[in-house]
Point group: C2
Chain length 1013, copies 2
Amino acid sequence: MKSCPKTKAGYINVHLVPHSHDDVGWLKTVDQYYYGDNNKIQLGAVQYTLDSVVEELKKSPDRRFIYVESAFFWRWWTNQDAEMQEIVTRLVNNGQLEFILGGWVMIMNDEACSHYNSIIDQMTLGLRFLNETFGECARPKVAWQIDPFGHSREQASLFAQMGFDGLFFGRLDYQDKEFRKQNKDMEMIWSASPNNLGNASWLFTGALYNGYNPPDGYCFDIFCEDDPINDDPKLSGYNLVEKVNNFINIAQDWAEPYDTGHVLMTMGSDFQYMAAHTWYKNLDKLIKYVNRKQITNSSRVNLLYSTPSCYLQEVNKSKRPLSVKKDDFFPYASDPHAFWTGYFSSRPTLKYFVQKANNFLQVCKQLAVGAFNGHPPQKIVDSVRDFSEPVGIAQHHDAVSGTAKQHVTDDYSLRLTVGMKSCESVVDKAFRKLQHASLNEVQAESNEFPRSFSNGLSTTYEFCQLLNISVCTASETMSDFVVSVYNPLARDLQNAYIRIPVSSPLWDVQGQSGLISSQIVNIPQPVLGIPGRRSKALYELVFSVDSLPGLSLSNFQIRKNTTEHVHSLKIKSQLKAIKKGGRVIHSSASNLAAANLREDFMIKNSNGLAIVFDSITGLLKSVIKGSVEVPVEQNFYFYLGMAGDNSKFEKRASGAYIFRPNTTGSQPSPITERVFSYQVYKGSHVTEVHQVFTEWISQVIRLYDKTDLVEFEWMIGPVPVEDNYGKEIITRYSTDIPTKGVFFTDANGRQLKHENVSGNYYPVNSRMVISSNEDLSQDQLSLVVLNDRAQGGTSMNDGEIELMLHRRLLFDDAFGVGEPLNETAYGTGLVARGKHWLLLAGEGTGVPISKHREAAQNIFMDKIMGFADVSLLQHNEYSFMRNAVSTRNPDLSARNTMVSGLVQVLPTNVHLLTLEPVSPTQFLLRLEHFYEKREDPVNSEPVTISLEALKQALPSVKSIMETTLGGNQWIEDLKRFEWIPRTVQENANEHVSVVQGAIVLHPMEIKTFLVNT
Amino acid sequence: MKSCPKTKAGYINVHLVPHSHDDVGWLKTVDQYYYGDNNKIQLGAVQYTLDSVVEELKKSPDRRFIYVESAFFWRWWTNQDAEMQEIVTRLVNNGQLEFILGGWVMIMNDEACSHYNSIIDQMTLGLRFLNETFGECARPKVAWQIDPFGHSREQASLFAQMGFDGLFFGRLDYQDKEFRKQNKDMEMIWSASPNNLGNASWLFTGALYNGYNPPDGYCFDIFCEDDPINDDPKLSGYNLVEKVNNFINIAQDWAEPYDTGHVLMTMGSDFQYMAAHTWYKNLDKLIKYVNRKQITNSSRVNLLYSTPSCYLQEVNKSKRPLSVKKDDFFPYASDPHAFWTGYFSSRPTLKYFVQKANNFLQVCKQLAVGAFNGHPPQKIVDSVRDFSEPVGIAQHHDAVSGTAKQHVTDDYSLRLTVGMKSCESVVDKAFRKLQHASLNEVQAESNEFPRSFSNGLSTTYEFCQLLNISVCTASETMSDFVVSVYNPLARDLQNAYIRIPVSSPLWDVQGQSGLISSQIVNIPQPVLGIPGRRSKALYELVFSVDSLPGLSLSNFQIRKNTTEHVHSLKIKSQLKAIKKGGRVIHSSASNLAAANLREDFMIKNSNGLAIVFDSITGLLKSVIKGSVEVPVEQNFYFYLGMAGDNSKFEKRASGAYIFRPNTTGSQPSPITERVFSYQVYKGSHVTEVHQVFTEWISQVIRLYDKTDLVEFEWMIGPVPVEDNYGKEIITRYSTDIPTKGVFFTDANGRQLKHENVSGNYYPVNSRMVISSNEDLSQDQLSLVVLNDRAQGGTSMNDGEIELMLHRRLLFDDAFGVGEPLNETAYGTGLVARGKHWLLLAGEGTGVPISKHREAAQNIFMDKIMGFADVSLLQHNEYSFMRNAVSTRNPDLSARNTMVSGLVQVLPTNVHLLTLEPVSPTQFLLRLEHFYEKREDPVNSEPVTISLEALKQALPSVKSIMETTLGGNQWIEDLKRFEWIPRTVQENANEHVSVVQGAIVLHPMEIKTFLVNT
């Protein structure tokens, strides 16, 4: 380890750590924070922080600084001249400037609402940037999650796999913190994957004494209100004696719960060190005068400039046995009335966009490698990066969390949109290359960084990113077009359903082997009325594809059918409506048969899945799978958000961060006891029940013909607030499954953890499970709800799954954002539309684990569709009708070996997590065993992949080397600190990773490879 | 002139002047501003400004900075190591760091409430500090009064005499400014002493375009809310094009009214440049990109780092003819409802303290030179400086002006008190030396800078600084003591009256020639009731001294007379009271003779001066001098202060800065139509009428036996505000003198100027005059009121003099101080006590000029009294009774030649303005011709003083050299810019200053000499 400062044995060594916490967007946008725009909102200009810190570090080799936010550092670094870059490199190499964490996002991603795929990506982006810029000396050794509002075990596990020696954070439940202080348990071993990865996932974890702030009275930033250290006795403010003595007392207090003779003191806070001089001038004095007391007054306190990694080294040397932590730090409460669980669901449309952006980014990355045969031009690499960056930034703990100001949220969306355009051009080129499009044409296009945000890049394909609200300009306006469907899973997708918004009802669909049966479904009227929705689409064309091969592109031609007779499909719809309050809004109610009103009705599919509705209420009543029927009532409810001025704990309002219903502990109110109206559309591919609950809540419950999932597409908004009450809308699935107070949520979309505390909210990134047996590997009755974005969820009563869908609130909760969470668009409250999927496993139907693992993967690695005029195919003299395209087409196999071949190499329990270009001659590959131990009799076993076969399946491989998870260190160089657990732990798993000529993947293991081409 | 930046002919040269306006106390105390304490109130820490500016100047030789506030710079400089001092010296020498103004106070003293004596002193303190530290290169050439609230012609005259080339200011009447902008008359020649000094008093004067702020949108301080210049097109905030183009437009707009091809742009504001980097980084970009447009877009705007002196040099070169200004910039209005005339009277007790502090400081300085024979020990020099500094600081435009926050005002008072202690120790030593006290004893005492403010220095003498409220612990508690009276005037004071508070009525007073007749006067009961007044004194002992010799010390022994018969004085009091509302508060009303009630009564003295009272109202009715009787009614009135929230101009409140009665233009209301009670005390030395107007206003009208002045000692407070109305209290002297709307006020206590605008307030530092003839040199009927502190005054109606005495207000006026001017002490509203003196000159009684000139001087150079136990004299084996002390005593003459001799050398129209130690071997001497031309047949003539006689009269003179007024440049080196007036001026006076072997002083001339001993 490079030069750490000397400490003094027998003393309390106070490691003063100068730092600045620079949010990558919060009250201001990331660029505003970097440059110092919009200072009216908040004084913050990171450019000056980096400028001035470097100046101050030059003045004394003792001084240190840690920097975290690569996103900012990158902006700064690229604007420095060679001389300054050299100076900075020297400061990095001698340890004065130390990078911590190193994720791209900012300092630190959100731990509740981020998908593990995105966490890994954003960390990789930052870690590799540092590695490429400064080399090994700059490799962060410490993770630094000082601000996120609760901490996920999975995050810790990922950090361990990235090679971090330790993790520090600032926020944990106030009672837990008090308890840990008293028990000297502020530092611990986090066993972050106790059932799977063993001590490979152990991570030293330290809770900081005072968040990430300095002790009271010792904030020396230019913006601070504490008095500087005044050592000039001629002046009236002379306070040296008092400042020194007081600090010695504080140091002793802080050191006590850590009990190693070392304590880390965070000397900084939000956007500090913009004028670093004020800090260092005063810290120099503090160190000088406090240490002087060692001689004159026998003080046993020793101050030193230090860093978290230097501190950690000393703690490690102390060999103090540590307790072992095995669960999450969720939910986080900062006081008895401030549970930070609102942000799990805040800003549902942003959360969805972030999830979809990751989906598209993964496709973009894969194709940048695969379609270019492992040798993407630099422009392609850059374009991928141009999207990687905003997707990374979106993981920030004030971005995807929904806790930024509205204008900042808009900026995140804009960045995602602009970045997506870059990747659309990549995907466009890749799609065309895969279709024999002219190589010259593809390469000749410019792909420069857009000069301004408003410039899009024109593509041949249109990617219709608004399909979630049934909008697609291409399919709405063209009468003969091709839809090219890419499946980014490294396995074939069976019985895939394609939905395309269209403006007229009669279409022919042609696939590889001729005409394909299709169906037209009405787009529900509430959807047509979404404010701001600009679309001619009134219908969705639905068809089924038997199989979308893994990592492949499939073409379908969609042509308007002008001859009515050729049209073989019919819209079969059975329309029902229920009067409520004497008012019927849907005219379709007119053809109701009175006799039907009292009968439940059932919808079935060919997989033996059926759903039953109550005709009276129009609500879902039960779900039948095979011989098992489980009563499942689904309805929407609302909490009234607490109003308050936050003047004291009891007056805390529900807001962007905080979820606080105004009648604590009581049940939420149902939106309605029975739906306002419903319509049933039956068809050969899908049967849909269109429910209207109220003017602002509607839902489609959808049963595709060949599926085990019931799809719920909810639409909520504008949430009415004319009554001056903020509202938080949930959906609840109520069953009679005896869950004994236990429910399961995913951890950042990956491992499942279980919580015994009902009545509290937890983050749900991909799914929530309730079951009649706590051991999910057993055959049992269980219900899974999968979601399409991060949401907060709970199981308030046995047998229930509750997920929060939308929040509209009228009060700020006083944790800084300074705005009520009252999203509007087009002059009214925001409308959100999204999906849940329900999966039932009854006793005797087998363990459902693999089904929902696969289903969750299908959702976050969804197929991507490109739309183009049919002339695309004709231009390229490609006869669509004769030779339907797939990447498996023999004609393409030479160029696309990787894409098709990899699918055959990877076993069913291995997920292709990452295929990402690093340069024109390098890419990153991550393979993930996506099952836990003992979950599944087959899939939970370790698997072995032949290295040679892998090489053959990947494009142009010259060499392949394993790295740590962040892609910034060879796995063989990984050497982490060892820690002594206070209690004996189960035998840790020591995996042999690479056996001779093969890769072995154990449950939940991710292996990362840098591949040279 | 040292390296000024190159300009471009044919271009608009924009002189960017980086600067920080660092108030020496306002919202925070001076030390708090220097160090950065109390940042909760305001972020300000000058230590960092100086630190960071030096760092930034080092980075590029083009960068410049001006610094103004010597008081801060001195604090900083003394804490720097040799290396840093050398760097700074280099930056000063190459012109990058330029000192401007250079006064000690801060940047700039108040121009309304400061006495010219104090202005000269504070400027000298700063200018000489710079000269001693850096030499000639650091000599400020430009005066910089950017913030004071109106500008005095006398201030400009003093600047001219200090050798400044020009003056810039930021605040002038908004209409005047608009007019000047339109007429391209923003820069002018201020003929600052048109009747006396001619063009020796000419001063280039420039009004700044935007106060002292940068153009909107171009504030680049770390605390500013304008966006930085973003030249990175990759970022969303990229604004370079807009910033550059907009700036070019602004530069053209700004340059227009100046019309020389040059414009000065103030790039800074209050307490900026604490992190200078942010400013310079952006200014560098601005200069680079704006100038680049010269090539690409043929822009004619040229930016350069510059300084006011470099700018002024270019303006001078342009030879543009300028208009000539001959009057004041008072009063200052910033909008139609914001007349900045309240501060003329705000905080009356502070204003008095500042005046008295100057009085004591002058005595201290004189004695430090005179009593130590021109060779004061360094400790004495330092002690004088320890008082000079706070007295200088007190002249700050937020100090004596009364516009600082209360806690800051308290700090000014504390500083004056502590500084006064230093000078008390000097005066104490001097008094004792003059009395043959043991030299060893005097020198052995420590005189270190007090470690903390609470430490006083013990002295033998007590100086009783609270005599103004009739408190003196020494005289109240001792029964046999000496009072030593020093007269700091360089002329004998005839018929001086001494007043000493005592706790019992029977005393003997012994002077040089035996027992002196004395009188006892009751201290008025309202005075005894002043909250917080801790005193046993119930009486004042009054006696008369025929002559107090100039610059001399006179001793008087005061001894309690225990034998009643020896007591030759009687208290003769005639008691009257007037019933009002059926209530009599003074029991003395009981012995009223009913017959007297209807008769006016008159009081006379032996100088032929008489005053007549109306028995019914108890008010002054007329004043008689010789054969002339003028009706003079005097009464107290109040304005109700405007209440307001300052949300718009019309809602402006009356406050610390602003005077705004709530019924604009209307007459103020009288406190009462007739006094509540009055008592008359007649005696051989003084007759006093003690008036009680109301529970919170009382007054003593006092007629000493041998005087031409009627003394009014008013006492006001606590001003009642229980009715929720703020009140502003005035006194008004109403006569029938036909003044035709004209009245005269002094200018900083010196020249008289006249204003034709009645109905407005003007600052009055020493006196106000109304007259039947505008030409004051003529024999005429005139009335003079002299005051003891700065006050605002006006003559609302012909024949009236109105002066504002006290203000208690309940609303802030929103110009920054953020507090209503609601002074309290001891839990209730502040009580203020002070004096006016009325002088009447009737036709045939001769021109009164010399009388009120002398009277004003007597007031601001009042005698100083020291009280000591009689043992002081006995200890020193000094037989008081045999040999009464005066500095003229032959025994002392050898040591005190200067003190006694100077009085004989100086003619009656020459004032010894300054006698001040500079070092143990140097002192500063200032001689002032204190008459204007044509004022007085004798005194208005030029006078010649023999240099040889002067040398003889001064102590230990080796050489004597004339300097400019600030004492920082030899008079022979003075070379100022010449300017071309737009209109022909009267022939300017060119004085020959020093004729062969003699000094010639012309009217209003001040000559400054540096004397080596």
